[in-house]
Symmetry: C2
């Protein structure tokens, strides 16, 4: 829609101004048609017309919105492993069956279950006031009677890692500031996330009693961002002090996850501003923390699966996914109810449109993504024998903004097929992007690691981290038009990929 | 600044297009210079130059920002009657003294004190999920063990008032939807506020066990808006059912305030959306409420006063105010730290600029405004003997948006003086507005009722109710440039009013 507008602009420019407009249009066409030294691939006119009709149907359809509204209203929050996530699985089975999917099933798995308890954080000196805070997933509860300690302020995670080891922060509460940068690609998330992932371990290794961080997120509301902390492995980027501590205190951490023994807590942006301001005044701060989250008994989660059966290539599976679980403080509208709605609606619209897909389209709604891709790893493990049949995989898990970038990571033979798909979705405002992409979305990581080819329909994420992992992740934040554009892009892409005469897998040498 | 830009636009139009631009400029000039059938008043060139220099100094000054930053950081939340409000009074005394004010003093008064306790609201059927909610000021705690009841849904406060009285809602929880409309003037607040003021009484009169309302506010964040409920008087607009109930249950309510016996609670916008959606599905809802707020022992509050002494008209007082208290969930940056900063900085800049004011400028930082204008009424009561000396009064209490509208409610003789002031602040983007205004701001109401002339520098309030009475009322929401524009408008206005040869008071017939 956006590019259609842009092309309209170019036509106007050409009419008004002559050559420059033409040159610009030509430049665009050249970029869109570029191939990487391999033969051009074209879909048939019938296939292209069918894909276009599918996209147009999707743009006019309320199906994804209705699915999203139902999930966020009738299920609401659905933390991985919680009873509410089980309610979501039952909802998903009913929803997939009602939408005509075949072989609808839950593939259950067991998982460690962490649950949020009440949290109270209060600055006690020099200027007593409550701070708005939330436990990070995997945070430990504090000692009976709470923590009352001085704050050790660090501008960045790197500063903390560079600080002396041993008991250098004995009894203190570590605070890490670091601001996330907003970007269309969401590229600020990774760097900002380091403190969330291993801040607890660097703090604990230095004798700290708790970790506070500025929320990983880009909004300025009084709603802290949660998200899970990480368990280290052999390649985790830790300071030597943390690595030494880990070896001493968690000797079997490569087999059994090393869990935090201290509360790990995010402050909202305005509260982090307050802490930063008081620090800059040269004041020493004290904080009181009453934290009550922690690990519970092993719980059950599950992946919910449904299929649109293929025809002559039915044994080749195109897996399109999203994750069904959400954080517990919002209703999981953008993360990842939107993805559930988008991939489900796209598959249903393909099934409804006639010209049955040659390959099987499998929708997988993963469980327990937020708490460590547990559904994704369970899926790859439990379906290991069948992974060779999964010829292509992708996930929608970046909110409900419009798709703007279309990347692929498939064989040289199949790359021109994706170029051709790119030409067919360009009118939706989508740029044909990387041809050597390695990612298909978080839950696709284990499949990609096992060699499954991937593609991705990247969404505009400039505002995504205003909502992601906060109580504010609710239905009203979703733009129905952008949601429908996603469905159009997925429906056209998946339909065309399902029909193409090609082998997506990288051929052995 | 804004009008300067607009005038620049007009000049450009005139240069490009001739006559229409000229006509528009002429039209503007006519409107700005209009007088209401009385003689034109002009300040001297020296006075006008001094006012302009004051405004320019204010636009470049960080003084208001520094005051606001200090208050919101070093005091933070300061609920009327709370220990933290006492901290704010001590802060205010230090701050006024440091800024060179004379006769700095606290004028204490006693007040009934309401305190927030923990609150938990959860939809239990048909779709169990937590709701983000806050107690309204004056809300009662619920029964031991909480409330578990069905929801009676009302689209509007009017619908509730029209519904049968008696025990028609026995044991139920009343929910009132009603959405507030955003407007530059904030005009949507009054109508939307009716449900907050007397919803408790209409619900209680029908046997309900609790009141839930959609937050009075215009944002879409998961942060409910608090605000105080009202105690009825003889002229309150109540249904006959509520009036009958009041007569029976609170026979002495005209002497002793009738207080709510049920919890009165606001839901955030997205949570209200959820309730509305489920209602529209035709589902019956149940809710669990654990509410623990309530009235405490009588507490002390106080108004903090400081002065810039006048010269030849020193016994005539221009009172400019703001309120020092805030709600307890934000840090009171826009409501009303901004007002504290604006009027204090304006008075200080006047004192610093030479040409000492003829009239005395008195800054009053009122206590306990949010909980019922208690400081304002105490001020008028305790200073009753001196009210005749207060020749003009105004308050800044509508956030930190730029001033756009300048109204006055003074004698016919003094109205041209305000027209002249209007001409002097028009370059700040301010329109000369009503000449028969009756309001000078909430805390000025008791003075205006006693005949004190008023003016008002109205601010753009389109976004004010996104923040007002929420946890999100924090420093980062304030635009320093808009804050400085306020100070410029107040400094120029108050300086000129202090110098004018006129009698602001309405003459007796």
């Amino acid at each position: 829609m956006r590019l259609k507008f842009l092309l309209g602009e170019i036509v106007t420019m050409r009419m008004n101004c002559g050559l420059p407009g033409l040159a610009l249009a030509f430049g665009l066409a050249t970029a869109a048609h570029a191939v990487q030294g391999t033969a051009r691939f074209d879909f048939t006119d019938e296939q292209e017309a069918h894909a276009e009709a599918l996209a147009e149907t999707a743009l006019d359809s309320d199906l994804a919105w209705d699915i999203l509204e139902s999930l966020t209203t009738e299920v609401g929050p659905r933390l991985g492993g919680s009873p509410q996530e089980a309610v979501a699985r039952e909802w998903a089975v009913r929803m997939l069956e009602a939408n005509g999917f075949s072989n609808v099933r839950i593939e259950p798995f067991d998982m460690p279950y962490w649950e949020r308890g009440p949290l109270h954080v209060e600055l006690t000196a020099p200027f007593p006031q409550r701070l708005y805070a939330t436990d990070l997933g995997g945070s430990a509860s504090g000692p009976e009677g709470g923590i009352d300690a001085g704050i050790a302020f660090f501008d960045s995670f790197d500063d903390l890692q560079q600080s002396p080891g041993g008991n250098s922060l004995n009894g203190m509460v570590v605070y890490i500031d670091d601001r996330m940068v907003a970007a269309q690609t969401g590229a600020g998330y990774g760097p900002a996330n380091d403190k969330r992932r291993f801040g607890w371990l660097e703090a604990q290794a230095r004798g700290a009693t708790a970790l506070l961080i500025r929320s990983v997120g880009t909004d300025s509301h009084r709603m802290p961002h949660t998200g899970t902390i990480s368990t280290p492995n052999a390649t985790s980027e830790l300071s030597q002090a943390a690595r030494d501590y880990l070896d001493a205190e968690y000797p079997d951490y490569l087999e059994n996850p090393a869990r935090s023994r201290i509360p790990a807590i995010a402050l909202s942006g305005p509260d982090a501003d307050q802490v930063e301001r008081i620090h800059e005044m040269g004041e020493t701060m004290r904080v009181r923390i009453d934290a009550n989250s922690g690990w519970q008994e092993t719980a059950q989660s599950g992946n919910v699966v449904g299929e649109i059966p293929g025809t002559d290539l039915a044994d080749e599976i195109i897996l399109i996914g999203a994750h069904l679980d959400s954080w517990d403080e919002g209703t999981g509208a953008v993360d990842d109810g939107a993805g559930v709605a988008i991939v489900t609606a796209a598959a249903r619209l393909i099934a409804d449109a006639g010209d049955a897909p040659r390959r099987t389209i499998r929708v997988v709604l993963f469980g327990a993504e937020e708490v460590g891709l547990l559904g994704a790893f369970a899926y790859a493990r439990e379906n290991a024998g069948e992974i060779g049949n999964i010829v292509l995989a992708s996930e929608s898990d970046f909110g409900a903004g419009p798709v703007w970038w279309f990347s692929s990571g498939v064989s040289d033979e199949a790359t021109p097929v994706f170029d051709a798909i790119g030409r067919n979705i360009t009118e939706l405002g989508i740029i044909r992007g990387d041809r050597n992409a390695r990612g298909g979305g978080p839950d696709i990581i284990p499949l990609a690691m096992a060699g499954v080819p991937v593609f991705r329909l990247e969404q505009v994420g400039t505002d995504y981290f205003d909502l992601h992992h906060t109580p504010d992740d609710t239905l009203d934040k979703v733009d129905p038009d952008a949601l429908a554009q996603n469905v159009a892009a997925w429906a056209a892409t998946v339909y065309l990929a399902a029909q193409a005469d090609t082998d997506f897998r990288t051929q052995d040498e």
